[in-house]
Amino acid sequence: MSGGVDSAVAAARAVDAGHDVTGVHLALARNPQTYRTGARGCCTLEDSRDARRAADVIGIPFYVWDMADRFHHDVVEDFVAEYAAGRTPNPCVRCNEKIKFAALLDRALALGFDAVVTGHHARLDEAGRLRRSVDPAKDQSYVLAVLTAQQLAHALFPLGDSTKAQVRAEAARRGLAVADKPDSHDICFIADGDTRGFLRQRLGAAPGDIVDATTGAVLGQHDGAYAYTVGQRRGLRLEHPAPDGARRYVLSITPVNNTVTVGPGDALDMSTVYGDRPVWTRADGTVRGEVQLRAHGEATPATVDVSSGQLRAELDQPVRGVAAGQAIVVYQPDPGGDIVLGSATITRAAA
C-alpha cells in the first residue's frame, strides 16, 4: 500500500473478495525525506501515514517493511548504471521484477501469505495471462510484463476491470481519504523530478563530444552522455544548424568514447528491434502481434521471433526513437484486453 488511491482500493476489493488481507507499505527510501511525496510505491512519512490510515478504514492489519537496501541496490544503482552504460532504464519495471514480485513476494510467501495484491491497472485472466486494463490511459501491463508465470501465479490485480475514474469514485464511496490524491508518474527516488541533475550528482560531470552522424564532425560538447536519450531533440545546444536546416536528434550514445551522436530525424526510424533476457509465455518461435517499446507508447504491429534467449521484432511500420534499456512488450490484440505474450529488454534497433 503505497499511500495512493489505487493500492487502497485494491486492498479493499481483496477483502471484499474474501481474502485475509494484510496491508504492507514498503519503506524504500533510506532517508524518507529525500524521496518524492505522493510518488507511487515510495516511502515518505506522509505516504506511509496515508497508507496506514487507508488500512485502518478498510479494517486490515498494517505494517511497514523496510526494503530500502534492496531497492537501493536493485533499482536505484541499476538505474544509474544503465544510464552510465548509455541505456535508458525503466525503474518501475525493475522494481516490479526485483522488489514487489521478488523480495516482497518471497518474504510474504515465507510468512504464510499466498499472494501479493497491488493496485496496478492490469488484468490477470483465469488462465493466468496478463492483459491490459480496461482503462487504456492507465494501463500498466507494460511495467508488469517482466513478471514470470511463477510470479504472476502469486499476483492479484483487482483493478484491471475498472477505469481510474471508477477507482477514485469507489475510494470516495469507501471513505478513503486518498480518493483525490494526485497521481504521480515521476521517478519516486528523484525527489525534485530532475533526472539529469540526479544523474550528474551520482555520475559527476563527464564532458565529451557531440558528433554529426553523417560527417563525423564535432558539433559541440556535452557535460555527460548519460543526460541524453535516443530521440531527444531539445537541449542539445548546438551552435551550427544542420546544412539543410533540418532539426537534429540524438541518434545514439556511446559510453566507451563518451560520445553523443546526432543526426536527422529519419535516421531514428527503426524497423527491427532486438531484445535480450526475454520473459516469454510460449515456446520459441515466431508470432504476429503488437509491440510496445516504451511506457505509455503506442503499440505497433510486428512479427516477433524468440529463440535461444534472444528476441527480434520486425515492425510493420518503422518506429521513431527506440531506446536501449527500455522494455519491448509483445501483445496479442484481444477484445477482452490485449494479452501479454512476453517482454524483453531492448538491446539495439536497426533501420
Binding site: 494484510t22 524518507p32 492489519p61 505494517y63 511497514v64 515465507a110 510468512l111 504464510g112
Partner: protein, 389 residues
C-alpha cells in the same frame, strides 16, 4: 487475545479509572481563586502528597508534567541549561548508552545544538551500566559535568541499574543525577530520597494511570530552566493548566502500584519465569537477553533473541494470532531500526533485529502464556524461512 506488551502501556487500574471519571465530571481550574478552583487545587495537592509519600519525595519536589517524555526532557535540558548558566559554566552531559529515546534524543540534541559535550556510559552484556566508567568519567571531568542521567530500569531488556551507586558517585562530585524510573515504579522498590537522585521521572500509563500525565521529582536545591513558559503553575518550572482528573488518577495509580509492589512483583516474576521456561522449551534456541531473572531484572520483562528470525516478522505473525508484543525498537516512518540498547550490549545488527519483547502486567495470566506458546513455534518456523531470503 493475549496482551504481552505492558511495558508499552498497561491498562488503567479500576480505581484510577473511577477516580479519573469522577474528577472529570466536575469542572475546576486549579489556579482559579473561587471555590471550584480551590476544590480542584485541593485534589491536585492531595495527589502530590500521595505521590510524594509513595515515592519518598517531599510534596514540593513533585512537579506534574505531561508524561515521561516531558519529564525526561525537563530534567535533561532544564538541568543542563541551569548548570551551564551557573558560575562554573558546566557543559558536559553523561548518560548511559541504553537510555530511552526520551532521554537519549534530548542529550543528542544538547550536543548538536547547545554545545554540550557528551559522554555515553557503556553497559555490560546484560545491559547494566558500568559503574567504574562513571567513576573514571567523573575523576577526569567532574568539574565540567552538568548532569548524569541513567535510567532506573531498562524498558527493552528489563535490566535494573545500580542507581544507588551511580547516584552516590555523582553526589561525591556535586553533580545532579537524574534517573528515568518510568519502567521501575510499581515493579521494584523506588525511593527518591533513599536513592540519592536529584531528579526522577515517572509516568502514569506504565503503572495503571492515564496516558499523558507524569511527574518529575526534583530536589528543591536543583535548578532547572523551564521548557514550557507560561503561567508557572508548577514551581515556575513547568507551565500549563493542570490536568486535574489525570493528576488525581495518576496519584491513585502510583499509590496503588507502590502499595502492592511486592505482591505484584512476585506474581509477575513467577509468571515471567513460567513464560521464559515455556518459551525456551518450545523454541530451544531462543536466547534470553538482559539480566538473569532476579533482583537485577524487572519482574514483568522477558526479552528474547530468536536466531535467524526478524523480530518484525515474528511480531506480524503473532499479531495475526491475537498476540500483542513488541520488538522494542524505535520506528522512524514505521521502519524498525536495530535497537541501540542491544547494540550497546554487544549484539550485532542481525541479533538486534531478531529480538522480541514480551512484558507482563496486572492483567496478565497463565492463559496469555498458553496462547503465546500455542502460536510461537509456528511463527518462529515461518519467520526463520522468511529470514533466509
Amino acid at each position: 487475545m493475549a496482551y504481552l506488551d505492558h511495558a508499552a502501556t498497561t491498562p488503567m487500574l479500576p480505581e484510577a479509572l473511577d477516580a479519573y471519571l469522577a474528577t472529570a465530571r466536575v469542572a475546576g481550574n486549579a489556579s482559579s481563586l473561587h471555590a471550584d478552583g480551590r476544590r480542584a487545587r485541593r485534589l491536585v495537592e492531595e495527589a502530590r502528597e500521595r505521590i510524594g509519600a509513595a515515592l519518598g519525595a517531599r510534596p514540593s519536589e513533585v512537579i506534574f508534567t505531561g508524561g515521561g517524555t516531558e519529564s525526561d526532557n525537563l530534567a535533561v535540558k532544564g538541568v543542563f541549561w541551569a548548570r551551564r548558566a551557573g558560575p562554573a559554566g558546566r557543559r558536559r552531559v553523561v548518560a548511559s548508552s541504553v537510555e530511552h529515546h526520551a532521554v537519549m534524543d534530548g542529550v543528542v540534541w544538547l550536543g548538536e545544538h547547545e554545545g554540550a559535550e557528551l559522554t555515553w556510559l557503556p553497559v555490560d552484556r546484560t545491559g547494566r551500566v558500568e559503574v567504574e566508567a562513571l567513576r573514571a568519567e567523573l575523576s577526569a571531568h567532574g568539574d565540567d559535568v552538568a548532569l548524569v542521567t541513567t535510567m532506573w530500569a531498562n524498558n527493552e531488556v528489563g535490566t535494573v541499574q545500580p542507581v544507588a551507586e551511580l547516584a552516590a558517585l555523582a553526589a561525591e562530585h556535586g553533580v545532579p543525577y537524574h534517573t528515568d524510573a518510568v519502567q521501575a515504579v510499581g515493579q521494584v522498590p523506588v525511593d527518591f530520597a533513599g536513592s540519592g537522585a536529584a531528579a526522577l521521572t515517572v509516568t502514569g500509563h506504565k503503572l495503571g494511570g492515564p496516558v499523558g500525565v507524569g511527574a518529575l521529582l526534583l530536589s528543591r536545591d536543583v535548578a532547572a530552566t523551564p521548557l514550557l513558559h507560561g503561567g508557572g503553575q508548577e514551581r515556575d518550572v513547568r507551565s500549563g493548566t493542570l490536568d486535574v482528573p489525570g493528576i488525581v488518577a495518576f496519584g491513585v495509580a502510583v499509590e496503588a502500584a507502590v502499595k502492592t509492589q511486592q505482591e505484584h512483583a512476585s506474581r509477575l516474576a513467577a509468571l515471567r519465569d513460567e513464560l521464559v521456561a515455556r518459551v525456551q522449551a518450545a523454541v530451544p534456541e531462543a536466547v534470553l537477553n538482559g539480566a538473569p531473572p532476579g533482583a537485577g531484572r524487572l519482574p514483568g520483562n522477558a526479552h528474547f533473541g530468536f536466531p535467524g528470525c526478524e523480530g518484525d516478522a515474528l511480531l506480524l505473525l503473532l499479531d495475526a494470532q491475537g498476540i500483542a508484543c513488541s520488538t522494542g525498537s524505535a520506528c522512524s516512518a514505521g521502519v524498525a531500526q536495530p535497537s541501540h540498547v542491544l547494540l550497546a550490549m554487544g549484539a550485532d545488527e542481525a541479533e538486534a533485529r531478531s529480538s522480541l519483547r514480551l512484558t507482563l502486567g496486572h492483567t496478565s495470566t497463565s492463559a496469555d502464556i498458553d496462547a503465546l506458546i500455542a502460536a510461537l513455534p509456528g511463527a518462529v518456523g515461518r519467520a526463520r524461512r522468511a529470514g533466509k531470503r
